[in-house]
């Protein structure tokens, strides 16, 4: 089945391959940098991959003369975001309070890693709430 193609030959499949490929190279570069103890080089490769891949993901749909993303993609992203937030909330509400109670009772100690994870999840929820508020005000 034919893929929708732009005048420049840039298809949706090509778009995805380029974005995922560039970001993937960045992540691979970071891991290789860590493994070979070239942390600065790995970080530079990662940042280039993330910025270039992100830039293409953001700009290509605006510049392309055929749709690389459409309403179905936006709905899929909305559903995936809702599912991710729901899972995070369910896990957070069912586990985090218990962890703090057990920590306070001396039954366990919340490690730095777990504490960091809780902090990140909390920050994500806060960001989600702020973004939801912005979107609600604009709609």
């Amino acid at each position: 089945m034919s893929e929708t193609r732009t005048e420049s030959g840039f298809t949706r499949q090509t778009y995805r391959r380029v974005v995922y490929g560039v970001v993937g190279i960045g992540i691979l570069g970071l891991l290789v940098g860590i493994a070979l103890e070239h942390h600065l080089l790995g970080t530079v490769v990662y940042l280039l991959g993330a910025w270039i891949g992100g830039g293409i993901a953001f700009l290509a749909p605006r510049w392309s003369d055929t749709p690389l993303q459409d309403e179905r993609d936006y709905e899929l992203h909305n559903r995936a975001s809702g599912l991710a937030m729901g899972i995070t909330m369910a896990l957070g509400l069912s586990i985090v309070p218990a962890l703090y109670v057990l920590d306070a009772g001396g039954y366990m100690t919340i490690s730095g890693t777990i504490g960091g994870g809780i902090l990140v999840a909390s920050a994500l929820f806060l960001l989600y709430g702020v973004c939801l508020g912005i979107v609600q005000r604009r709609s």
Partner: protein, 65 residues
């Protein structure tokens, strides 16, 4: 919601990609609509109806009982 988009498209001798380009969406979206896996927005439903020169109800059946 069911639809006869695939039948109408094939009657016109169009590929999914050609119809997608005509109404400004991706081929995957046309494919998902034809397989009843995605309900299009009102805007897209109107575009499809306008393209086939018919009403939305001629393409989409909401199956409301």
């Amino acid at each position: 919601m069911q639809n006869n988009l695939s039948k109408r498209r094939q009657e016109e001798g169009l590929s999914q990609g050609e119809l997608a380009e005509a109404v400004g969406v991706t081929r995957q979206t046309i494919n998902a609509i034809e397989r009843d896996r995605y309900n299009p927005s009102l805007e897209l439903a109107f575009k499809l109806a306008a393209y086939f020169d018919c009403s939305i109800e001629d393409i989409f059946d909401p199956q409301i009982e």
